[in-house]
């Protein structure tokens, strides 16, 4: 048995360490731990501040899924205060959310995940002519022809098309060769390029994917221009409680939003659809098919047992989360939990998440048995986010010192993440969860009148199942399935973006240009105490923000984010979280080069800064606080 440590895990957001015990004979992982190794305490920082500012602070949880936390935050505050945002604001927020999802997925696939599958070194052996032929074959064979209800077609033809000429690929290959021969590999340094997994793909796939890595690095920036138009910048666009700050006027030259600005948004949306259809999905299916055909259908883990989602995209403006407005108005009704999908859809069960569940003290909770926190009434106590407690309690590693770790202690505390639970159970979240839930609901007759988006999801799943020749319950809950679901989600969200853009234009046509409801802007209009929750199906999965407002100030703020669900430490009763189970469900060929471990972890698109800052709370006992920047040179014992 060999203990393998991978720290830092790179090409993710934040600081993540994993440790696995590998049987060197069989390559089987017998135990795995996932540790978030940094904690910033943002929820403590939220205390006593103006709830109308919360979005700005809490958005800084994460700059990769920027916008996600701002959106969940304004939704939480609006739920607490009973603010109904205007129609236009709902559409604009949905456009910003869909924009994030597509851009984030593309960056994940090409820049954070691709180098687990493809290698610039292997690309050197490719024949440029054969690569051009491969590109044509992919466009012929692997495009998924699904579109949403386009009301106003604004694109004459697909402007962004992959080049399929030998000269193009020869040029890319020459650049890669120059880098490799220079001895300065830069970002390509020190990877396990000789790992046998890279040989699962022919050299031409490597060259094609490296070329698209570079192209997408240049193009991803253009996909987020809707954030720049509506929110002023990206990363970290601006929001306002009650709607959006970007006033619309078709009569004023200096208006934040007018027709010319909307045209920028329209162009970005069209581009996202084209990139998803012409680059992302064909590349994804080429790689995924090769892996599945090679028998690589491991890495599923918790997805086989339990997945969770809150539901996505309120179609129209709504009144509150607790009261049900959010849940009654969803474009994708994936609010629920599917258990035992891995045993076949006939054996799977679906449990809906209902409005009353968010307030019930026993449904959504967090405990800290293996997290570096202390609960006054016992670390295994399951506490609702509105009552959340934060008391950091670092206990050090199993071997090494507090500041020089050898191995962490899986028998005790080992992570800055808490362990979130749904009815006492651990769940996986993410695009994979959304697809499993919608598919299961449809198969069980629980989606009698699917929305166009739900129908598109079912069509996508069926198309991929056909291409792979496998049933959804076989390919979806796997490492490849997790990565594939993200690609399908990108195509879906690109269409959703167009859907809400068309709705925005249609509403502007009626003469309604309102973007903010300022009726309850002044704290004097607020109740003495109010609690709220904001839900959002973020790119990485279900995100919830919880706020308790007292006397016009934030008394308590808590986020339970996708990566906390997935990367959490184990629980003595409920078992392992999604990262740990996925690693334990992954075969490792060479323990000294655990590429498969890094790959299966990256299939979740980790976002550690999100995951480790979820701890608000009351924090009464944290009263020794260093604020002097000079004091860091001192060693505190």
């Amino acid at each position: 048995m060999k203990r393998v440590v991978v720290d830092p895990i790179t090409r993710i957001e934040g600081h993540l360490r994993v440790e696995v015990n590998v049987d060197e004979g069989t390559g089987q992982v017998t135990d795995a731990l996932s540790s978030g190794t940094a904690w910033r305490g943002l929820e403590l920082i939220m205390r006593d501040r103006d709830p109308r500012d919360a979005w700005a602070y809490i958005q800084r949880v994460c700059g990769v899924c920027t916008t996600a936390h701002a959106l969940a935050s304004v939704r939480a505050v609006e739920d607490a205060l009973g603010i109904k945002i205007p129609k236009n604001a709902n559409y604009i927020r949905n456009i910003m959310a869909a924009t994030l999802t597509v851009q984030d997925h593309i960056v994940h696939f090409y820049h954070l995940h691709a180098l687990d599958w493809v290698s610039p070194v292997d690309a050197l052996a490719a024949n440029p002519e054969a690569t051009a032929n491969l590109q044509n074959a992919l466009l012929n064979g692997y495009k998924l022809p699904f579109v949403g209800p386009t009301a106003i077609p604004t694109e004459a033809y697909p402007h962004d098309f992959p080049a399929a000429t030998p000269q193009y690929f020869a040029g890319i290959q020459a650049k890669v060769k120059a880098i490799v021969e220079s001895g300065q590999l830069g970002i390509f340094s020190a990877q396990w390029w000789d790992h046998p997994d890279y040989k699962l793909l022919p050299p031409e796939v490597h060259l094609l994917a490296v070329a698209h890595y570079l192209e997408m690095l240049d193009k991803q920036r253009e996909l987020v221009t809707p954030h720049v138009v509506f929110g002023g910048k990206n990363p970290h666009p601006h929001y306002v409680v009650g709607g959006m700050a970007c006033s619309i006027s078709l009569n004023d030259g200096n208006a934040p939003i007018n027709t010319a600005r909307l045209a920028i948004v329209d162009r970005a949306i069209n581009m996202a659809r084209t990139l998803a259809n012409n680059y992302y999905l064909p590349d994804l299916l080429a790689i995924g098919t090769a892996y599945v055909k090679a028998g690589k259908v491991d890495g599923g883990g918790l997805a086989k047992t339990r997945v969770l989602a809150y539901g996505a995209y309120p179609i129209e403006e709504y009144n509150g989360t607790k009261s049900g407005g959010f849940f009654n108005n969803l474009l994708i009704r994936c609010n629920g939990v599917v258990e035992n999908f891995g045993q076949g859809v006939a054996n799977a069960t679906f449990t809906e998440i209902k409005p009353e569940d968010v307030s019930a003290p026993e449904v959504f909770t967090e405990s800290v048995e293996h997290g570096w926190y202390n609960y006054p009434d016992g670390d295994s106590k399951e506490i609702h986010p509105w009552e959340g407690i934060t008391e950091p309690k670092f206990t050090g590693p199993k071997e090494g010192t507090g500041t020089q770790w050898q191995t962490l202690n899986e028998g005790g505390k080992y992570s800055w993440l808490k362990t979130p639970k749904w009815r006492g159970k651990l769940c996986e979240v993410g695009p994979l969860a959304r697809y499993i839930i919608i598919y299961t609901k449809a198969q069980k007759g629980l989606l009698p009148e699917p929305t166009w988006a739900e129908k598109m999801m079912l069509d996508q799943v069926n198309a991929v199942s056909g291409a792979l020749g496998l049933a959804p319950e076989v390919w979806l809950p796997t490492m490849v399935g997790r990565t594939a679901a993200r690609g399908l989600d990108a195509q879906l969200n690109a269409e959703i973006n167009k859907f809400f853009f068309d709705k925005l234009i249609a509403n502007l046509k009626t003469g309604d240009t309102t973007v903010a409801n300022m009726e309850k802007w002044e704290p004097s209009t607020w109740p003495k105490e109010a609690k709220g929750v904001g839900l959002y199906e973020a790119p990485r999965g279900g995100l919830s923000h919880w706020i308790d407002i007292k006397d016009g100030k934030t008394a308590n703020y808590q986020c339970v984010v996708p990566t906390t669900w997935n990367a959490c430490p184990r629980d003595d009763k409920a078992g392992h979280g999604a990262y740990e189970l996925a690693m334990m469900d992954t075969h490792v060929a060479i323990p000294d080069k655990p590429l498969e471990i890094a790959k299966v972890i990256r299939s979740f698109d980790p976002c550690m800064a999100c995951a480790t800052h979820m701890y608000n709370a009351k924090g009464e006992r944290i009263n020794v606080i260093t604020t002097d920047p000079y004091s860091g040179t001192k060693i505190e014992k």
């Binding site: 440590v5 090409r11 800084r60 700059g63 934040p256 500041t403």
Partner: protein, 354 residues
């Protein structure tokens, strides 16, 4: 040490003439503010000086600065990363991870001792020996100190690295601070912003790659070319401020007409940044242009200058802003002085409260 490509090598490889190389050196010399007597030194440096090696490390951060960096349009991030610098270590883009990645960091530090640029994103967590920010099994603090010790220069990317940022806001649970006190003698370039503008981030690296020197800095070590103006000085809504035309609340007639956002809390008057001139996405917008008041994200302690939606109560002892900007030049000048003073009063008030 392995031979690395110099600017002259690049000219050779690209088939450019000695004459054009020398012309480039003359341009460089004047741009760097050196006299023509220094030309021979510039030529010598450009002939032998290798392309810059960059090590990019992460402390307490959100990766928003990395994301901003790759949003750059000119230069494109792909050109920067594959052509203009050798990015040998970066948690976001590097292929490798774990032990071989950490070993590569150490090799890079040793191989390019005294020559590499250290880019730092994120704050240093100082409380409890730095255990709130661990990477590779050791503290970020120790990693920063080690990497900075042998760096030619350090770039503090973002408000977190420059001043501590969001995690250093009250009550600063992890004792976070900017990096300046942990980098030893290496010169530091502060590039604040949450995040900084993409082209400002790549601009600093491009300056080093093109001119072989750090950009000229102001007294707070910020590149003068990007932080020389207050947003207010270059804001396209400035005429409305001067004319006393303000949005009174979000989405009112003034907000739709694009009037000044001062009364909604805009921090433009005290914020040094390029949002008003370079703007975001090559001039596409910046928060004010999209109707959102500036939150002052490149200022040292902006997170504790809340609430964001208010300027000082009733705009301080200097009176109501409506009386300040009345269109007349003299009054306008008074207005500028007045709200400059108001900002100081506001800051003093905050410090008193602390």
């Amino acid at each position: 040490m392995e031979k690395r490509e110099s600017m002259w090598d690049v000219y050779l490889r690209k088939g450019m003439s000695r004459r054009s190389f020398l012309k480039g050196c003359v341009t460089l010399t004047s741009l760097m503010g050196l006299s023509t007597a220094s030309l021979s030194k510039v030529v010598e440096a450009a002939e032998t000086k290798p392309l810059p090696v960059v090590i990019w490390i992460h402390g307490h951060e959100c990766t928003g600065c990395d994301e901003s960096f790759i949003r750059s349009a000119s230069p494109l991030a792909s050109d920067v990363v594959l052509n203009d610098i050798a990015l040998e270590y970066d948690h976001l883009l590097s292929a490798a991870c774990g032990e071989p990645f950490e070993a590569h960091l150490e090799q890079t530090i040793q191989k390019y001792r005294g020559q590499y640029i250290l880019a730092v994103e994120g704050a240093v967590s100082t409380k409890d020996n730095g255990i709130y920010c661990m990477s590779g099994g050791h503290t970020f603090t120790s990693m920063l100190q080690h990497a900075a010790e042998h760096a030619a220069a350090v770039i503090a990317y973002g408000t977190c690295a420059a001043y501590g940022g969001i995690q250093a806001a009250k009550p600063n649970p992890t004792g976070s601070s900017g990096i300046a006190h942990f980098v030893g003698r290496a010169p530091v370039v502060n590039v604040p912003g949450c995040p900084p503008i993409p082209e400002v981030m790549t601009g600093v690296v491009m300056h080093v790659a093109l001119f072989g020197t750090l950009p000229p800095l102001d007294s707070e070590n910020r590149p003068k070319q990007f932080y020389g103006n207050r947003i207010h000085d270059t804001c396209y809504r400035r005429p409305f401020f001067d004319a006393g035309m303000f949005a009174e609340r979000f989405d009112d007639a003034g907000a739709k007409a694009g009037w000044c956002l001062y009364k909604l809390g805009c921090r433009g008057p005290e914020t040094y940044n390029s949002c008003g001139n370079i703007r975001w996405y090559q001039g596409m917008s910046y928060p004010i242009q999209s109707g959102a008041p500036c939150i002052g994200c490149s200022n040292a302690h902006f997170w504790d200058e809340d609430p964001m939606s208010q300027r000082m109560p009733e705009y301080g002892p200097l009176g109501n802003v409506d009386k300040i900007g009345a269109g007349l030049a003299a009054v306008t000048t008074l207005g500028v002085v007045a709200h400059g003073a108001a900002s100081v009063v506001q800051r003093n008030k905050r410090e008193e409260e602390e």
